[in-house]
């Protein structure tokens, strides 16, 4: 068997270098490259090296785990619990994978299973935007048209609640990304809230 350890070592060192620019994003991958480099250096022959590192499945898994962990940490900062949960589930499935083929199949299966949660925040943000446009529109239009438009605002609110049962005005006012999607300061958002309370009372009487 041809001994290609020098070529492989140079390859591993170059790949390790790619991860060093952002070590925070490559924790598991960096560790795995370092382990492979150690194996390469300490092995006694090409065959011994292959016997130690096998098909390098751990490297593929480490890369996938880093991807999920990175996104999980992002969604935690962005306060998107459903997306965070989807990444956690993906992380667990990848961690449990037993080999390259299993890893591939697990990723496909878990991605499909968690697809809804992973993208739910986009739907919530879009629906909040629609709701706020209709609600503010009620105040912009003549009094005579307000009743009909309030009905539409109520419908949009119910759609928002369907997407996020935990949605309320406290969340609208305090969630960093929901707030970041809106132009209002506290004063004007408070006015919209009070107006919606009237609308809500009217439609739930």
């Amino acid at each position: 068997m041809e001994d290609l350890r020098p070529e492989n070592l140079a390859y591993l060192e170059a790949r390790l270098g790619e991860c060093r620019g952002r070590p925070d994003l490559h924790k598991r991958t960096l560790a795995e490259y370092q382990r492979l480099i150690e194996c390469n250096r300490n092995s006694t022959s090409g065959a011994d090296y292959i016997d130690q590192v096998g098909d390098m499945f751990e490297l593929s898994r480490a890369e996938q785990l880093d991807r999920r962990a990175n996104l999980g940490a992002l969604y935690e900062r962005l306060e998107y619990p459903e997306a965070l949960e989807a990444q956690r589930e993906r992380y667990q499935a990848i961690r449990a994978a037993k080999g390259h083929i299993d890893l591939h199949e697990q990723i496909q299966a878990v991605n499909q299973r968690t697809q809804k949660g992973a993208g739910l925040h986009f739907e919530i943000l879009n629906q909040l935007s629609t709701f706020m446009a209709v609600l503010a529109g009620c105040l912009a239009e003549p009094e005579a048209e307000r009743r009909g438009r309030s009905g539409v605002a109520m419908e949009e609110w119910l759609k928002l609640k369907q997407l996020d049962p935990g949605m309320d005005w406290n969340k609208i006012k305090s969630h960093r990304m929901l707030r970041a999607s809106m132009i209002w300061d506290d004063e004007r958002l408070g006015e919209l809230e009070r107006f919606f309370e009237q609308v809500y009372r009217e439609f739930t009487r």
Binding site: M1, E2, L4, E7, N8, A10, Y11, A14, R15, G17, E18, C19, R20, G21, R22, L25, H26, T29, G46, A47, D48, I50, D51, G54, D55, E63, D66, R67, N70, L71, L74, R77, L78, G99, H100, I101, D102, F122, L125, N126, S129, M132, A133, A136, G137, A140, E141, P142, E143, E145, R176, M177, R179, A180, S181, M182, I183, W184, D185, R188
Partner: protein, 356 residues
């Protein structure tokens, strides 16, 4: 045999050879794959080109792919050791790069028109082409896959094969987004270009792209809300009144103008002095209107809008402006004068803890 047919056949057969040493010689999966491989070879002999080869008996290809999957499962269920290890050939490693290159360089329906619209002239992806040419040169000179992969990694080509075509795709999109009054998209496209220059690994590139998409999503919604709240409703009411000067439509103009004055401390003439509003009118509304044969300039359009508003408010109580602090909005938690909105959306000042 035709070279194209040979190439497709080789790629399938070499995958089979990768798995052969990793399963027992008497493996049922291997025997099945070998039998199908013999049929593939026979079919290849009868075909004139790769297209005919791949389409004449689609079922055989499906069966062979299925057999390879089963074989792969069996192969990977056993640990790799020096006894069953087989280094892939240079050609096998490079096969995917050739496939990616061919797919990238293919001309897709409507693509030429789109490129012309974006101001792209000359051949497609000149930079990516250079990257791939270098990859193929290394392929040609490499004695084995380990050497090939070493040089690809050393020269940063593994990532460059992804970043080079993306850079060329995003570059014209900055100006295009500005042209259609999408400053948040222009900012995003610019941030993506900077990322493509900065990223050193696929993991970094993927994570940072996702992060940028998340931030951009809320910024686009913010921008859309701004334009709607400050101008679109007023503009819509004015258009409706110009088409049908009814009391109902007049009342809508009046109500919307009073709303903007109360929300943003903007008198009608001031609405059109907000740079974000002017950008929207100049880059979206006027091209659309003038495309229908009208001949508006920005000044004539604004004059018509203001004259109409004045007509709708004649003999009505004066419009009351809100206190001056309302001449502002909040962007990423910071108060922003309306006059600064266009610049800020184009160059967003994001929270430090979301900057990476």
């Amino acid at each position: 045999m035709d070279a194209g047919v040979q190439s497709v056949l080789d790629s399938y057969l070499s995958t089979l050879e990768t798995y052969r040493p990793r399963v027992e010689p008497g493996s049922a999966n291997l025997a099945h794959a070998d039998a199908l491989a013999a049929k593939l070879k026979a079919l290849a002999e009868q075909c004139r080109d790769a297209g005919e080869f791949m389409s004449r008996d689609g079922d055989l290809f499906t069966q062979f792919s299925g057999a390879l999957t089963e074989l792969a499962k069996e192969a990977f269920s056993r640990p790799t050791t020096s006894k069953n290890f087989r280094l892939p050939t240079v050609r096998e490693v490079a096969y995917g790069y050739h496939a990616a290159y061919d797919a990238m360089m293919r001309e897709y329906p409507g693509e030429a028109e789109l490129r012309r619209e974006l101001g792209e002239t000359g051949p497609k992806y000149p930079e990516a082409r250079k990257v791939y040419e270098r990859v193929f040169a290394l392929e040609a000179r490499s004695k084995n896959a380990a050497e090939f992969l070493r040089d690809l990694a050393r020269e940063g080509l593994l990532l460059a094969m992804t970043t080079a075509p993306l850079r060329e795709k995003f570059r014209p999109l900055v100006a295009h987004a500005e042209k259609v009054s999408q400053p948040a998209m222009a900012a995003h496209n610019e941030a993506m270009l900077a990322l493509l220059d900065r990223a050193q690994s696929a993991i970094e590139l993927e994570y940072e792209s996702d992060r940028l998409v998340e931030l951009n999503h809320v910024e686009k919604l913010w921008d859309m809300q701004f334009v709607t709240e400050v101008y679109t409703r007023v503009g819509g009411a004015v258009s409706a009144f110009l088409m049908a000067s009814t009391e109902e439509n007049r009342a809508r103009v009046e109500s919307n103008v009073r709303y903007v004055a109360a929300q943003f401390s903007l008198a009608p003439a001031d609405i059109f002095r907000v740079p974000r509003v002017a950008d929207h009118i100049q880059r979206i509304l006027l091209p659309a209107l003038n495309g229908q044969g009208l001949k508006y300039t920005y000044e004539s359009f604004v004059k018509e809008q203001l004259d109409t508003i004045a007509r709708c408010l004649a003999k009505r109580p004066p419009v009351e402006l809100a206190p001056p602090h309302r001449n502002s909005v909040v962007h990423w938690g910071k108060r922003l004068p309306l006059a600064d909105v266009l610049h800020t959306v184009r160059h967003p000042d994001r929270p430090a803890d979301l900057a990476r």
